[in-house]
């Protein structure tokens, strides 16, 4: 079995994520305006513009894990809000778990599980709280299953993207219990969580750049 992630894939993934955020930040902001404070799109956009600059200046010998760590640090330095430290910590924890120049799908899934664990440790949210976790958890679970079943990155990341998207949509009927949306109580119901939605974008970006693999 060929490896799943290397420097190029890490960079390509982050670039695709940046492009997706650039294209859909308005939509994320609108979702956030409905049940939050209307900045999620601009927050991520600011962060991924900085990540893109970082990528432009990276040595091609940088291991994929280091790419993720440095992107995570950039998000923490640029985004602010809840999503900056949360996504930043995800990437930093995931990157830390990928020290080698290449890693297989199982290692990638494990690394993203480590990212999710960091996210949950920091934010204290569980599935069902109407947060990033609602999309991230099923996506990681899908990756893990696919790795166990011997799927390719292409197949696995498509499944993960689907799971993340379904998880994001599943936040609609939920009442938020973490983040700003929790202030609304029952009025947070019937809105899709912006953070879960941006997580779906991230996994869609991974699927997109994994197609040739």
């Amino acid at each position: 079995m060929s490896y799943a992630i290397d420097h190029d894939l890490a960079v390509a993934w982050l670039r695709a994520a940046a492009a997706a955020v650039e294209q859909r930040h308005q939509e994320l902001t609108e979702l956030d305006a409905a049940i939050g404070d209307g900045d999620h799109g601009s927050n991520l956009r600011r962060g991924f513009v900085a990540v893109t600059e970082l990528l432009d200046s990276l040595d091609p010998a940088t291991p994929p894990g280091t790419v993720l760590i440095r992107a995570g640090t950039t998000l923490i330095s640029k985004v602010g809000g809840a999503s900056g430290p949360l996504y930043g910590s995800v990437l930093r924890a995931a990157g830390t778990a990928l020290p080698a120049p290449t890693a297989d799908l199982t290692a990638l899934a494990e690394a993203l599980r480590a990212g999710l664990t960091a996210l949950q440790k920091l934010g204290g949210a569980a599935v069902g709280d109407k947060t990033i976790v609602d999309a991230f958890e099923p996506a990681v679970a899908a990756l893990e299953r696919a790795a166990f079943d011997g799927f390719t990155l292409r197949e696995a990341s498509a499944l993960a993207a689907e799971a993340a998207e379904a998880g994001a949509r599943a936040t609609i009927p939920l009442e938020a219990r973490k983040g700003r949306a929790s202030y609304l109580g029952p009025r947070s119901v019937d809105h899709q969580d912006p953070g879960a939605t941006s997580t779906a974008l991230l996994f869609a970006a991974l699927a997109e750049v994994s197609s040739p693999h």
Binding site: A33, D39, V79
Partner: protein, 331 residues
């Protein structure tokens, strides 16, 4: 969207340029995005640092100066600052006697200030944090992110600043802030929604005869929608709501803040204050000190918040201590 801005992306930097021009007595580091006292660091003085999203002016930049904050870290509009800002603030104002953060309880602020505190600790600077969570509109339960920090921030920053100015230690400064927070409760009503520059339109639609009760300061909708009523009734309801969650009884003294959310003119705030004062007087509660004006705002939102801090003699004495900042100034 009608705003006096250049571009939504440059609001923070352009505002900092204005603050720098308007307040030559302060140091404004536009690159690090930190506003701090020009006489900092002051050896032996605890450094009091706060910050949060922009759009709440004069909070926090307007409270930097002798007797109050040593530094403020303004984030993007409604977005908490990043840890780099707090670290830059610490290196600008830390006089070696310890650092105290005043943090409003929002997930983003809490996460970013905690990361900053961790990083500062790694660099050998211990940071204590006062978490402000005074807004009774939010249930303080494990099913929420906890109560929001709003108007009480002014009281906390004032009393911590006064104590720090006198050379008190970091533990003492932090605990007076925690006490002031514990003795404070707030509640806000909005007549219009705020418009975040990057979003370009109001955060929610509010028909001409309705208000949002229980709003925070980030343009999010409140707990419920109600018909607009005369100021007397609204003020009475807000007083009730705050008192229902307070331990105030007849004979108690309070510091009262009737705070505008940014789009409400002063004469309306005075009018509301008159109604609030009358309702408190009926219950035998004495307003020992008060502020009426725009202190903790939410961009262009129309509406007001009420903060009541139960005031013991020590808090009153610290409240009365001299302060010389852009937004609070007395001697």
């Amino acid at each position: 969207m009608k705003k006096l801005i250049n571009t939504p992306e440059s609001v923070l930097d352009d505002t900092l340029a204005g603050i720098a021009a308007a307040h030559p007595e302060l140091t404004v580091d536009r690159t690090a995005r930190v506003v701090h006292r020009s006489d900092a660091p002051r050896p032996g003085k605890v450094a009091l640092v706060s910050g949060g999203g922009s759009g709440h002016e004069p909070l926090h930049t307007g409270f930097v100066g002798p007797g109050m904050l040593d530094a403020a870290c303004p984030g993007e509009v409604f977005t908490s600052p990043v840890p780099d800002q707090m670290l830059a603030a610490i290196s600008a104002v830390d006089g070696g006697a310890g650092v105290v953060f005043v943090v409003k309880n929002y997930t983003g602020d809490v996460l970013n200030f905690s990361l900053a505190a961790e990083l500062a600790a790694e660099q050998g600077t211990e940071v204590r944090t006062v978490l402000v969570d005074d807004d009774v509109a939010v249930q303080d339960s494990t099913f929420t992110a906890g109560r929001r920090g709003t108007g009480a921030t002014v009281v906390v920053e004032k009393v911590c600043g006064a104590l720090a100015e006198r050379g008190a230690g970091a533990a003492e400064v932090a605990s007076i802030g925690q006490l002031a927070n514990a003795l404070s409760r707030s509640f806000a009503v909005a007549l219009t929604a705020a418009t975040v520059p990057a979003a370009g339109k109001p955060g929610f639609d509010l028909p001409g005869d309705e208000i949002e009760a229980g709003v925070g300061i980030h343009g999010e909708p409140g707990r419920r929608r109600e018909p607009l009523r005369p100021a007397r009734e609204l003020a009475a309801e807000v007083v009730e709501t705050v008192l229902a969650d307070h331990t105030l009884t007849s004979g108690d003294q309070v510091i009262a803040l009737v705070n505008g959310l940014g789009g409400t003119p002063l004469h309306e705030l005075y009018l509301v204050y008159g109604e609030v004062a009358a309702r408190l007087a009926e219950r035998g509660i004495t307003i020992a000190r008060r502020l009426v004006g725009n202190y903790v705002t939410s961009l262009d939102m129309a509406g007001f918040s009420l903060t009541l801090t139960k005031a013991d003699p020590q808090l009153l004495e610290l409240w009365d201590a001299p302060v010389a900042t852009p937004a609070l100034r007395w001697s």
